[in-house]
């Protein structure tokens, strides 16, 4: 306790030097929390959007379905087995029929995936209600990206062509009933959504589906013959890998920033020990052991991180609070490759803040201790004469 009080007294006495170090460290501290908060927020935002608009609580895939191979679509459809049908009837699952097709917006040819989904489903956050428009023979829902790339808008007519179950080409004119604004490119790009029953009828695949999305992850998901269960973890794994790759880049940047701050602490300690040799000698003469002097110097260094945390809290808290609730615009967010949208909402969790504080404290303490090892080799008589170290 005495050493702690002495360390505080020394820090206080060092005045501006203490505050300069603490301020430098607090920048690193806030930047790390900010960066990690961004990544956490991005992660959460992307996963939330993917879950809400696409993956739900997991999916059953018809066994031939391979989302990375459009050629499998011809065979990737089957009638719903009873268990999935009952879940669908209970509103706990939403079947989708996916077939390859072509649209001809403004006379140009565009290959698309034609996705059939029940207009009344509540499993996914897609605005499928618009597909219930019975005045249209083929109501079509598209995303904002598809709308932008094709020049289509609500009310526009377009020709949709596909191959039915027998391999015969068929076509109908559809009308765009809604353009949904979604941050998720994977439910938008080169896709059109039509009513499930209409597509099943037009494609000659009555009662059939390609995938079935569950509303919530089932505790004991039943094995269904001919269908493969894909859990949320499986479905999100690609996304997580993309985020992970961005995390690595960010981590390298923060590590450099952190190292610079640590270098400042290390430097301060080395300089402090060199400059305070006489003082160290005097402390030993006054009755402190070398170990006590080492602990005192280490505490002085470590307390910089406590001061930095307090400082960071003072100016970081309002900033974090504001960003957490209001987000910030990220021009070109679409180009990041996942469902980021135009605004990012960083997530500053208690775990992140406490974890970062602990990390900074532990590393600072270690860095502060490293130079103090010299004290152990310092002879008191040399120290008193201002030699050694």
């Amino acid at each position: 306790m005495t050493l702690f009080r002495l360390a505080i007294r020394n820090l206080r006495g060092a005045g501006i030097r203490t505050w300069l170090n603490a301020i430098a460290l607090s920048f690193a501290f806030v930047a790390i929390i900010f960066g990690q908060g961004m990544l956490q927020g991005m992660n959460r935002q992307v996963e939330d959007a993917s879950t809400a608009f696409e993956y739900g609580g997991g999916q059953y895939w018809q066994e031939n379905y391979d989302p990375f191979n459009p050629l499998t679509l011809d065979d990737a459809h089957a009638s719903l087995p009873p268990v999935l049908e009952s879940l669908t009837r209970a509103g706990k699952a939403a079947p989708e029929l996916i077939i390859a097709g072509t649209i001809y917006p403004q006379g140009r040819i565009r290959p698309v995936l034609v996705k059939g989904i029940d207009a009344g489903q509540r499993v996914l956050a897609l605005p499928t209600g618009a597909l219930g428009d019975t005045t249209e023979a083929l109501p079509v829902l598209i995303g904002n990206r598809t709308a932008a790339s094709t020049g289509l808008a609500v009310g526009d007519q377009l020709t949709v062509e596909w191959r039915d179950a027998d391999g015969a080409f068929d076509a109908r004119d559809g009308r765009v009933v809604e353009v949904m604004n979604t941050s998720l490119a994977s439910v938008d790009n080169s896709q059109i959504w039509v009513p499930l029953d209409t597509l099943q009828r037009l494609a000659g695949m009555p009662g059939q589906a390609t995938i079935v999305t569950l509303a919530k992850a089932l505790r004991k998901a039943p094995a269904v013959q001919g269908w493969k269960l894909r859990t949320p973890a499986y479905l999100l794994s690609d996304l997580r890998q993309v985020i992970q790759s961005k995390t690595i880049g960010q981590t390298i940047m923060f590590t450099i920033l952190f190292l610079l701050a640590m270098l400042a602490i290390f430097d301060t300690q080395v300089l402090s020990i060199f400059r305070r040799r006489r003082e160290i000698g005097m402390l030993i003469a006054l009755g402190m052991t070398r170990a006590q002097v080492i602990v005192m110097f280490t505490l002085e260094g470590a307390l910089h991180s406590v001061l930095a945390a307090i400082l960071g809290l003072v100016y970081g808290s309002p900033l974090f609070y504001y960003l957490h609730h209001n987000g910030f615009a990220i021009p070109g967010g679409e180009s990041w490759g996942f469902a980021l949208g135009n605004k990012m909402y960083p997530a500053f969790t208690a775990g992140l803040i406490l974890g970062t504080t602990l990390l900074v404290f532990v590393v600072t303490t270690f860095v502060a201790w490293l130079p103090t090892r010299r004290i152990a080799k310092l002879r008191p008589t040399d120290a008193l004469a201002g030699r050694g170290a």
Binding site: R9, G13, I284, P380
Partner: protein, 267 residues
């Protein structure tokens, strides 16, 4: 475990050295700073190690202060055998029983005069009230009660040294070791400092041992031990010495008669 020689302390001998040798390695050569120095100091002495630079004064003082250990021979300080003390035991002895005063004052720069004097008491774990009383007393002894809140940079050389004296005596140590305490002071301040120390020696009974070659200090000493090339060249009681101290010194055979020079105690 402490190695003590309690009987010596009871006899009033607070320090005894026996054939003390201290060698230093300087590059490839070896420097012998102390050559078989044998001395005794009794409680309440006001003694000085005198001699030119390099004569071994500071080395001897450092060993007595448990800041250094002898290469051979033995030094017993306040019943503890210096060469056998662990670092923790040596620190404990310094913290409880020994006060230091240095030429360069060595005040802790970020502390006020009050905090500097308080420091040894913090290490002893005294309560706040006890510390306050002792620090106030000590600052009053040295006449600096009104400068308690000044930082070392705001004090003159004389004032700084007086703070250092207060710090050395605040815990009422048995022994105060002063290494060239007046070297950085003018004559006026030197006399003030020395008078302060004489007063503390008289009033508190603290043993003072100086390492000095300053004539001003030497005039105040009651016992002058001259070191030359690491050996005790002479060991004399000076004029003006009190009868009590001379009797004590005579009784342990350091001097045969008041004011007479005895042969060197190192062979």
């Amino acid at each position: 475990m402490r190695v003590t020689n309690g009987s010596d302390v009871k006899n009033g001998v607070v320090i005894s050295t026996d054939k003390l040798v201290r060698k230093f390695h300087v590059g490839r050569s070896e420097l012998v700073a102390l050559k078989e120095v044998s001395l005794e100091f009794r409680r309440g002495e006001f003694a000085g190690l005198v001699g030119p630079s390099g004569s071994g004064k500071t080395t001897l003082l450092n060993i007595i202060g448990t800041l250094d250990t002898p290469t051979s021979g033995s030094a017993t300080v306040l019943g503890e055998q210096v060469e056998k003390l662990s670092p923790v035991q040596a620190a404990s002895l310094r913290s409880h029983q020994i006060g230091f005063i240095f030429q360069t004052f060595n005040l802790l720069p970020v502390y006020t005069a009050y905090e500097n004097v308080e420091f040894p008491l913090l290490l002893l774990g005294l309560s706040s009230a006890e510390r306050r009383k002792k620090v106030t007393d000590a600052l009053e002894w040295v006449g600096l009660a009104d400068r308690a809140n000044s930082k070392p940079t705001q004090l003159s050389g004389g004032e700084s040294q007086r703070v250092a004296i207060a710090r050395a005596v605040v815990k009422r140590p048995e022994l105060v070791l002063a290494d060239e305490p007046t070297a950085n002071l003018d004559a006026d301040n030197s006399h003030k400092i020395l008078q302060t120390m004489v007063g503390l020696n008289r009033d508190l009974g603290t043993t003072f041992i100086f390492a000095t070659h300053d004539e001003k200090v030497i005039r105040y000493l009651r016992r002058k031990i001259t070191l030359v090339d690491g050996r005790v060249a002479s060991d004399v009681l000076q004029e003006g010495q009190t009868g009590r101290d001379m009797t004590q010194l005579s009784s342990i055979g350091i001097v045969s008669q008041a004011g007479t020079e005895r042969s060197t105690s190192s062979s």
